[in-house]
Symmetry: C2
Subunit: 152 residues, 2 copies
């Protein structure tokens, strides 16, 4: 059961995505609309495969290539944050599209992203010591979620 706030958030995210889509020559196909919806509504951080399976529930002929292409488009438009992992288990955040820290369960894959005091000081320290100018970052903490702690 979703709270009214959650529903509202989902609608706002969807509206913003649609605005970006319509801002150019992009077309809104049913498959594409479904993918936007899934990303705007998902509380967790779905994988390509999870998105694919969910789209297929509604449009059984959808191909995985379409999912990849739509995600690529959303990445370009900055409307989704890709959490790529070297093993290929990539995950997508349709809510917060800017860099932010993640807590990742190495057992079940659950990802949480609480509001946290920023990493700006660390970034500034790195800048001073390296001379780099940074445009984004990635901060992931890996371990066991509460549920998986209980099981082990």
């Amino acid at each position: 059961m979703k709270s009214p706030e959650t529903v509202k958030q989902t609608e706002e995210r969807l509206a913003q995505m649609l605005a970006k889509i319509k801002g150019r020559d992009f077309r809104l196909t049913p498959q594409r609309w479904a993918i936007l919806n899934i990303l705007a509504a998902s509380e967790d951080h779905p994988s390509v495969d999870e998105i694919f399976k969910e789209v297929r529930n509604r449009f059984p002929t959808t191909s995985i290539a379409t999912v990849y292409k739509t995600i690529a488009l959303l990445k370009e438009l900055n409307e989704v944050l890709e959490l790529g992992f070297p093993d290929g288990s990539n995950r997508y955040d349709g809510h917060r599209t800017y860099p932010h820290p993640h807590a990742i369960c190495t057992n079940c894959g659950k990802i949480m992203d609480p509001e946290i005091s920023s990493v700006d000081e660390l970034s500034e320290e790195m800048r001073k010591k390296t001379g780099y100018t940074f445009s984004f970052h990635r901060l992931d903490f890996f371990g066991l979620c509460p549920e998986c702690q209980r099981k082990s």
Copy 2:
């Protein structure tokens, strides 16, 4: 030209790797020794391909599979830190094998890892807010290195 301290560091790292290797039934082949050497000596963060090419300078018959297998072994022994990237451009740190922040140039790929005040407080904050227990983390800042800033 390497400083005496650097040479000493390299020797220490190599000694430690060798100790770990000999601690079990592992054998020290010339190819393996070469790879250990490269990782212990490298100032930057070499890719598999860079390691492969360097090993081939000394042992032209070496196969890429051997490089992968040796790296896998060193990972198991905790004697190398793998910096995996989703695009497959993985890099290896033979010096500091524990998690630490990196500054990564998105233009030329140069990686720096200065000593920095720890991320322990952030980790603790995440723990409190998520209930996760963390065993490692990954912190990368992406941007332009000083040299690439000048060029652009």
